[in-house]
Subunit: 454 residues, 2 copies
């Protein structure tokens, strides 16, 4: 019997648990799932005899360390800021660890100890980060092996609503943490490389610097730049690349309308507003517009942002009921971002039969024997329902596969790491295909940003 401890059983855990329970009889797995609230855990387990739920507060040292001691490997599905509590005990008791989150500074600093104990601490093995790393590195390594030199890498991911549930003017619903959507792009200037020149885009220009992407069968998307596209330059071995650009995908038109919220200051999370609890949506909007004794909030809004009333963008704001005098923010000492989130939740919450979608788009440009080539690689995964979402599938399956891979000694290079080596990505990308998560590659004429080579 091998004991797997999963800490935290939120929205992204459904496929993770399902996969491990399906494998449990053959692989002799016993799965313990700890959460502060065991209700969802019990739903996920059902009547499986290979799993049990325990109540677990990650800040209660005794119950946490006891649970970790009893495990052979630990999967932390907690919010990223809580991983470190788990990680420290994993080092202490010599247990492997798997997370889908970015490697924090504290986590990175455990590397020496983790290595010396021969442990695998696998991070960033969800979808983005996760499947993006693996699918990108598979192609990059192949190009290199064939004698090619990568000169361009662009990578885009979007968590969106599935086409069949896509029925609002924004072509967007909250398929994951709404807060992250509202503050997306904040916390630093976006940085990327285009044809050898650095480019910097401040937050308040981000949603006006989009690019279009076509995905066969799914139509056109747009992407705005991520904060730091150069983050993985060194780890991917792309130090001499000319173009390096990572972005977030939305349906076309989303960013132009979202930019209005940004421009007005409605996405600010840095201060609280006076009298926010009894504030109407209309009053909230008016905080960001010049005072006028006569002009309506609507007119001021349109005038400030130069929105014509026959522009579809205008309908998007009306659809949100943004100018309602009746609806209230209802949150004490709300930040603008919290108030905006409240307004958006009315319109963008998933209906019970809505399905989500994960879209990924990589572009690889390379040179070989003096010629330039391009490969476009795309992946679309659709959710099944609101438990078995595309998000849960693309996050949970690679986490589950890595967990079993480590238990079975298929993944054994020790250290705090991300999935960028063939040892990890080859078996996992292969197995993901069985679950319908596969990339469509297409050879294209190299385009880049200087197609005429001027």
């Amino acid at each position: 019997m091998r004991n797997i401890l999963i800490v935290g059983a939120g929205k992204s855990s459904s496929y993770l648990v399902k996969y491990l329970l399906d494998k449990a009889p053959h692989e002799s797995l016993s799965v313990t799932i700890g959460d502060i609230n065991t209700e969802n855990v019990k739903k996920l387990i059902g009547d499986s005899k290979h799993a049990r739920a325990i109540q677990l507060n990650v800040f209660d040292d005794e119950s946490r360390s006891q649970a970790i001691k009893n495990a052979d490997i630990v999967v932390s599905m907690l919010p990223a800021r809580y991983h470190f509590e788990v990680a420290k005990d994993c080092v202490k008791y010599g247990k492997h660890l798997v997370t889908a989150s970015y490697v924090s500074k504290e986590m990175r600093e455990l590397d020496d100890e983790v290595k010396s104990k021969g442990l695998v601490f696998m991070n960033e093995i969800g979808v983005d980060p996760g499947i993006d790393h693996m699918s990108a590195m598979q192609v990059i390594d192949r190009i290199r092996k064939d004698g090619g030199k990568v000169i361009l890498f662009e990578s885009f991911t979007g968590g969106l609503v599935a086409p069949e549930s896509d029925n609002n003017l924004w072509n967007y619903k909250f398929t994951w943490n709404p807060r992250n959507v509202v503050v997306a792009g904040q916390g630093g200037t976006a940085k990327f490389l285009q044809e050898g020149t650095y480019k910097y885009v401040p937050y308040y220009r981000l949603f006006r610097r989009t690019e279009f992407l076509e995905v066969e069968g799914f139509g056109r998307f747009e992407a705005y730049p991520n904060r730091d596209s150069l983050k993985y330059q060194h780890e991917y071995g792309l130090n001499n690349v000319k173009t390096l650009y990572r972005g977030t995908m939305r349906r076309v038109g989303y960013s132009r309308a979202w930019n209005v919220f940004v421009q007005l200051g409605m996405t600010d999370d840095g201060y609280t507003m006076e009298e926010s609890e009894n504030m109407s949506y209309r009053e909230f909007v008016n905080l960001f517009l010049p005072y006028s004794p006569t002009d309506s909030v609507e007119l001021k809004f349109r005038h400030q942002l130069n929105i014509d009333q026959d522009d579809i963008m205008w309908d998007k704001f009306e659809e949100l009921d943004l100018f309602s005098s009746d609806k209230k923010i209802g949150i004490k000492q709300a930040t603008p971002a919290q108030a905006l989130q409240k307004i958006l939740m009315d319109s963008w919450a998933l209906d019970s039969d809505d399905k989500d979608m994960i879209v990924m788009y990589h572009i690889f440009g390379y040179e070989k024997d003096g010629k330039k080539y391009q490969i476009d690689s795309t992946m679309v995964t659709l959710g099944e329902d609101q438990t078995y979402t595309a998000m849960a599938k693309t996050v949970g399956l690679p986490v589950a596969m890595a967990t079993l891979g480590i238990l079975n000694g298929k993944i054994q290079t020790p250290g705090v790491q991300i999935p960028i080596t063939p040892e990890i990505y080859e078996p996992i990308l292969d197995e993901l295909k069985e679950y319908g998560i596969k990339f469509n590659e297409e050879d294209k004429n190299y385009l880049g940003y200087n197609p005429l080579n001027i």
Copy 2:
């Protein structure tokens, strides 16, 4: 003999020193001026027998405490972040303190100790903050005494170039710390009150939310909102005011052009750029524009910001030589703000015979016997040369007068304070008139932001 210690003798100290040396024989003053570099000090002292220069490093505990022990009162003209070193010793050795800077949190926390020792720690007694406090409170107190109720207070200050030296398209030169000009408005959403409604303006909208102000004999100015207009609401006793707005004055057209730098991200001081040392001005600008193999930096710049080439705004950027391929930033690991400052210094540094100007504009609205009234109060001070600047005059004279007022027991209420009581503002505003610093008051029809009372 009364001993005055002045710590720090930068640009703003000329009138301060001159005033005290002029008064020295009559008032039996002995002035010690300490600076890390005594060259400027010696120039300011000349052959006066009432003053001496000492070398003083504020972080050298022994020499600092020795100098403070020997003084009856200390004037700190150091950069604001260094005042606390001086303040601690003033508390320890029981000396009064005068500064022209904002009261920091640490300074505020000394209040109890300062009061218990009967000391006066006078802060914010330069021009802005300083003369603005005093001139505003004098009118506000008068309105109240006459039975009026203040319903509106707006206050604007600008440090500008004098009309006779105003010879560039921006109508602006650096008359004080250039760095503060480049990052002006950063560090928090602007907050103010208009007709009873709160208004919030994010940094990147600030320079598009300007108001016009006419000053007789000096023409039209514009003002953009300061960070927190509500900061002094309580201290001024304006808790029930309907409109409260503080702003920074520029010549008309400055803000619209400056906004372009903000929009592109060129004022960002939060990260350093790669390869900044050998970067040309043109390459710097191009960092913030989309890549194109063919389009010129000029065209991309105009296109991104919708600037027509026959718009005077365009000439403003050309005047700065912003698109030069020859001129280099020349700073290692520069932030965008540092690079922009370098570019602006080429064009906006004062010529040796240039003069500066301080402009202040207050608007007071009040109700009395059911009617509404308005008083506009303006002040303009011109510099004489580059030592005896308007900035040095309006900062240094009130500091000097407060220092003598405390020494002579005219100002004696103890505590960490700002100049908002008659005890302080009456004698100082009176004496400032002798030096040509006076306010022009004009009764106007009450306008406010709802002139038709709708």
